[in-house]
Amino acid sequence: MRTLLEKELRENHRWLWVGLALIGSLLWYATPKTLVEGGEPTESLIAVLMLLGATLFALGLGVMQSFADLRTASRSFLFHRSVSIGSIFYSKLISGAIIYFVAAGFPLCLVAIWFSAQGIDYLPVRPIQVYPAAVVALACFGFHPAAMLMLARSGKWFGTKLLPLFSVLPIVAIGIATITTILHGPALHVLIVGLILLGNSILVAAAKHAWVVSVADEGSFPKQPVNIALKVTLSFAAVVFLAIVIWFQVVAAIGVGWLPTDTSNTIEDYAIDTDGSLWWAKSKEIRLEAGLVFISGDRLRKDETPDVRRELPEKLQLGHLGYLTGVRRPDSYFVSEMGWFKKDLTSYFDCRGSVLLYDRTLTPPLQACIARDGSPFAGDPRSRDNEDMFFYDKRGPSFWLDPIGAYRTLGPSLKVETLFELPIQAKAHVIRHESRANKVETREEITILSDGKLHIYRLTDKDDNEWFPERARGTSEFSIREIAVSPPLPPSTWKDIRFHFSDDSKFSVVLTGRRPCFLTYDSKSDTNWTVTSFRNPERDMNDNVQNVVFSILPFLSSIVVAISFAIGMLSNGSSLPSIDSVKYFLQDEYGYVILGTVVVLLSMIGTCYACQRRMLSRSETIRWCCWAVLLGVATPIAVLSIYTRPACARCMGCEKKRRIDLRKCEHCGCEWERPAPMGIEIFDDGLGCEGVREVVSHGI
């Protein structure tokens, strides 16, 4: 093994320099060198360029290592020796891994060292920012065994030979997930790395199998005579299927931006009237300063579909509902532009719980580091790690919200003071303009969803008057006061929460989703929510795109759906899916469940057909059909990839087509006819055809 490893390393070390040059140059391009380039996209850019470089390098290395030793002469020379083919395979794999990880790891380490040497005093960078790229590199190594598998297996290049490359894509997709889940805790990352290692291990096992078992099976069997019309039809169907898949991916990639949009500047949305009734109304922007004007609409009633084109009654006053949006945790190590503090200052949020202020005109540029629990301090915040602090959402330069509370920054001292502490799941900032005494007053409210309850806070001035005067914006001259709390919202799977809080302390809430409902609660008289369900009136473009994207999931496989469901739950900070969450999923996402079931059935039918084409036995067909339940449409593709279609010839016994690789006809049991003697055969006793045949009587 050591000798083989040395041979591989000596033979392929030149590719190391190619890999170092390729990956090194890409990473150097991705590395921020000035303050302007720092911040949020650093680790994403590094990881994406690593994805590009590592994919090319792993694929190329696998191809070059395999191709050189799979040609007829070199294969015969290398494989005929007193070592197992498994050892030869592993020597190639290990040497490839050494070269690959040095080529990917060395530049990555240099970048980390550069980040460390640069220090946070100069740039918002940390060595840990190379972590997503390292995970991506680990995932992309799958292309190496995939290339070895691809070259070792028999098949047509434009038939099934290239298919192993597609098996790496889910592994790489899991690796890329690291970029967006980078701050979601170690459990998720252990899961991601575990899945990558598992996926790569499966690929390695498949590649080894191909080398050990199939490496001697060069060439392909003859094709059966095919019906040209059938072939054209199948090819057309395959092209259409591919086109649909690609279309789905394009739609998912470009999103709603490129899709046709309504050019009439009208918006269909929920609205609420002065009586607290819910409407589905169309509004239009007449002039920028005038805002939206309602032009038509219909009142929403229980189990009725509203007609948005209906004319609105005169004197009806409608208002829009507010949006509650989640308090996002930062998804990168540094979030740029946390708000303007003063001219020339650039701010970054450090996910460890501080805000960094840089002045581009000074050296070093780091001027201040603001933390929740103390005064601003200059210098490196690493000594004050506080994992649960997330200054993230902002309203003006001096008010801050994070998942555990709200804060204000006190004047020029930049001291941070806690306004309240509450676990915050979602929040809304409502600004109201009201005319009073010929003067437009701005009133501001903060609505927070905490433990299922809605909390309404009002911004007041420092003397705790009713409203926070606009002139105080940008200063710390304000306070905050809770004015109402709702009962807990009923448990349900909703997509958005739309809400309205009236001057007379009435809550109106719309939970949107597949089964929307309207909830009202008067904090002065009611004890709980009054719930009215209605039919979903909206189907906007975003929903359609989302539906299309989600519809792809069942096409993949049950395993992929389950894994994505579990990762989704874990990345949201939840524990393992509860029975209730699964129940709600099945109730609300029944469309996907039905689609998934149809896909599974189609996959099983396709698998049966593929097994029939490959002439597999009944037990093998049943086994593959069971896999189809788990793996979906990948299963028939796998069957077609793994098994070669056996060629057939006409049987002299039964006249039917029989497999040429079996000794006896599968239809009539007839053996192959001996070629007729030419009359010139010269064999000495016992070593002619019959002699050898008599000695060895066991057949295939």
């Binding site: 050591r2 000798t3 002469a73 079996l662 009359g679 010139i680 002619g688 055809c689 019959e690 057949g699």
Partner: protein
């Protein structure tokens, strides 16, 4: 009897695409013999050797080397078998010495003296890179690497391809020395009939993927005869001669090569109108060429007469 065979095959068949290259081959090579495998290009020799070596999966049928299934050869089994690839593949970036080290560490029984003597016989400097060696020297290194592993069974795929006379002589001498003790089995594929005649004691002839000769070289010589007839060269009646291998025209007479001729063969030749019948001496090479020419029917009058 199977234990006396170093190589055996039963119904060995291989297709490439829709073409059958080796067709239901039954084969036996006794232990201790030196056997030559002959055939035209494309007759299926290399395919057969690669199937025997377990480097190519047969479409059907099976074969055994030293009593082990060719497709199930273990590392230990391969250590007992030497194999040189057609074209003498070696790693060009290695030196001769590095090649020896690479081979030595992947074969347990290594005879350094054998390697050195073989390399010396071909006039090779062990410090040279493989890529700068001549074709003959490369063949020498290849042979040295194979023989130094002290195999019980040696399979050589056209080792003399493209070699100059001196290198061919060195190759033959090395092989004769190697087989001197009569304990080793050699299967040698080649187009060089003189070399084959000098080295081997058995001969196999393949025609269109089928084995038509498998016997000792003496038996082969004895059972092939050549006759000169006075018959029209285009006569279809010539095919009535039993055991007719090949017929050709020479100076107004027809020369026929016949397998296993007897009184009936002579009578058949007389019946087709041969006025004078003359038995000609035939060499091993001529006999083999007759077999091989028969398979290449397109450029012979043999084909034009309805063969």
């Amino acid at each position: 009897m199977l234990n006396d065979l170093a190589i055996s095959a039963q119904g060995l068949t291989r297709y490439f695409d829709d073409r059958v290259v080796v067709d239901q081959l039954d084969l036996g090579v006794p232990r201790g013999s030196v056997t030559g495998l002959l055939g035209l290009n494309g007759a299926g020799k290399t395919t057969t050797l690669r199937m025997l070596m377990g480097l190519l999966t047969p479409t059907r049928g099976q074969s055994q080397l030293l009593g082990k299934d060719s497709q199930q050869l273990t590392a230990e089994d391969r250590a007992r078998i030497g194999y040189t690839v057609e074209g003498h593949f070696l790693y060009g970036w290695m030196t001769v010495r590095q090649s020896e080290k690479f081979q030595r560490e992947t074969f347990p029984r290594w005879n350094s003296a054998m390697f050195e003597s073989t390399v010396r016989r071909f006039g090779i400097d062990p410090g040279q890179k493989i890529r700068v060696l001549s074709r003959g020297q490369r063949a020498g290194v290849s042979l040295a690497l194979t023989l130094a592993a002290e195999p019980e069974l040696l399979i050589l795929d056209d080792p003399a391809l493209g070699l100059d006379p001196v290198s061919r002589a060195a190759l033959n001498e090395t092989l004769l020395d190697f087989c001197n003790d009569g304990m080793r089995t050699v299967l040698l594929s080649s187009h060089l009939l003189d070399d084959i005649e000098r080295v081997v004691d058995r001969v196999l002839v393949m025609v269109h993927g089928r084995l038509v000769v498998n016997t000792t070289i003496d038996d082969f010589r004895n059972r092939i005869s050549s006759w000169s007839l006075e018959v029209p060269p285009t006569s279809r009646a010539i095919h009535a001669i039993p055991g007719l291998v090949f017929a050709k025209q020479r100076g107004g007479r027809t020369i026929v090569t016949v397998a296993d001729s007897d009184a009936e063969t002579e009578a058949a030749m007389m019946r087709i109108g041969a006025d004078s019948l003359e038995r000609l001496p035939i060499t091993f090479g001529e006999a083999v060429v007759a077999y091989l020419s028969q398979s290449r029917a397109s450029d012979s009058f043999f084909a034009n007469t309805g063969a």
